[in-house]
Amino acid sequence: MSTLGLIARDLRVAVDNKEILKGIDLTVEPGRVHALMGPNGSGKSTLAFTLAGHPGYTVLSGSASLDGEELLELPPDKRAKAGLFLSFQYPAAIPGVSVANFLRTARMAVRPEDLNPAKFRKLVFEKLDTLDMDPAFLGRYVNDGFSGGEKKRLEMLQLAILAPKYAVLDETDSGLDIDALQSVGNSVNALRNSDEGKDIGFLVITHYPRILKHVPADVVHIMIDGRIVKSGGPELADEIERDGYDAVRDEVAAARA
């Protein structure tokens, strides 16, 4: 079916009356990994939040759909139920709510049909193990007093437990030490190699090619000033690391001229 995928079409988005995204076209196919790179402030997180339905972002035009289901009219929870997952660049804390309770509530919300408590417990402990996480995390309050790295691991734990159709990872690799990056990579790969996870399409927002060594990208996109100005193969990430964004900017300017 031609509508399969996480698809943005001519998406223009404003925050506080300022246009940030100036027409985004992007298709993430099931089972494929797209990387999205771009300088600070270019609009990467804005795209992630817009897809997830953050109320602070105004869509000026365009559309977004997930396997044919229009997303933009849906509240955030319905988008998650449709199969979208966002790993936050800066995950919010929910004091007083334990990780265990939150995971269970989220899983029940997204997939009400399955898993008795014993099976759920087993699933959670398996995933904790893959991520090298201490089960003591389950008793802590969601992201409350977590270190940066711990927050990112918790995002990956949720990804593994919710097993969505499409996952947007917003700088999940930022602020991780080498071991944590390895754990995150292992977790994503374990998910992609599993039956439930093999068809997940990923949009990996990052500043560094190193995450792509663990989770190889099929396509790399470069966003500058609210536009995707260039797309290419995995080698594009290394070019950016070597040459910076100025080379791309010049190229785009030359093409326009």
């Binding site: 997830a52 339905g53 953050h54 109320p55 509240p75 955030p76 929870d77 988008r79 998650a80 139920k81 997952f85 966002l86 936050f88 995950p91 919010a92 804390a93 929910i94 004091p95 007083g96 709510v97 309770n101 939150f102 509530t105 989220a106 919300a109 997204v110 309050y141 949720q158 919710l162």
Partner: protein, 461 residues
Amino acid sequence: MPSGTTAAVSGLAFTPTAAALEAAIAFVSEHDERGGAVDAALRREALARYDALPAPGGRPSRGWKYDYANLPFDDLRWTSGRVEMPALPARPTARPATAGDVDLDRPALATENAGGLYFLGATHVDAPSNVDAKVTLLALDGQTVRDFEASLDGVLHEIVDWRADKLAALTTAFQNCGAYVHVPDNVQLDDPIQLIFASAPDDEAVFPHVVVVLGKNARATVIERHLGAGDPFVCGIVEVQAGAGAELDYAIVQQAGEAARVMFSRNARCEHDAQVRWHLAELGGALTRTVLGVRLDAPGGRAETSALFFNTGAQHVDLLSGVDHTVGPTTSDTVVRSAATDRGQGRYVGNIVIRPKAHGSDASLRDDALLLSKRAHIDSIPALEIAANDVKAFHGATVGSLDEDALFYAGSRGIARGEALRLITLGFFEPVIARFPGESLRDEIRTALDRKLDDATELDV
């Protein structure tokens, strides 16, 4: 009627007047052979104080609709007495799920394996209780006051300053029920003692006076409950004396009926190295006013106060906590969490006094309020008065609404807004709930809060 008991006969119409007080005094001497806990002369003096003292507080907000100077006392009955209860099963069955579900004929005394005292309105229901044999647990009446004169000396009428507290003066004048709990030196109880105040079918004016005395190194947990579907006016006093090295957890779970008015002045005094921990969950009633105090009179004393309230509908809650560090080093830790929705109105006044001799003391006061609707209002009024050097005092307060980032985060995990709101609100109370004694009590409070969320009509701002 078995000898030594009095039936709770129909009682008197209640008004806070001299004529009504004389009728009450006559009623006690006629109907209760154990006599009242407060003698007639003191009752008359207390009523005079009640008349002379100004009503507490002003109106903290525009939406606040009660005036303590003009509380209506219509259609209340005043009575005093005891009835004997048919034997209960040794270990009562499950506790009632909600205030409304209480089976008034067969009150379940137990959370766990607790013994306790049970009152239906002001009537002491004399039921067998399986409290530890070393503990004295009696209705506070004339006979009890005479029998335990020595250990009540300096405690009864002395720890709560009723001469300076209009509502406590009213309690002293019209006292018609109460409890005396004495845990002797070195006795450490595993199971809590429960004091259950259930509303009578007809609305009563209930004036309880509770005295808890812990001997040296004694340890106990007391759970005071208010429940039942009636709409009483309850105005009580709780006095606590904690001997050297003693530790008391005193938890109050107030789930009175929808139109009930519940007011309490509670104060505790700590001797050397004694610890008193107040835990308050103010959940029911139309208007509640609670004073929770601790006086730290000897070095090493420690006060912990943990309180929560959640006002839904048109509930009003007035909460005052006070810790008086009279000497040092003493420590106190006060944590209050409050939330309001619909037209709920709340006021919290937190006082900490560190007197000149309280060197080396450490006091912390933290209160956070959550407003869940536009018409809800909570005032937070901290007051720290520090007259000693080299002390540590911390105060922090917030009033806010729900964290939109947290709501969005939960939403992005598939949790619908209403459910996320519930989760985050319950989480907000958790730091206070976590300090209540016993997991079953904590779960009970979580469940009660969850039900209140069900009943709230305005939950989004």
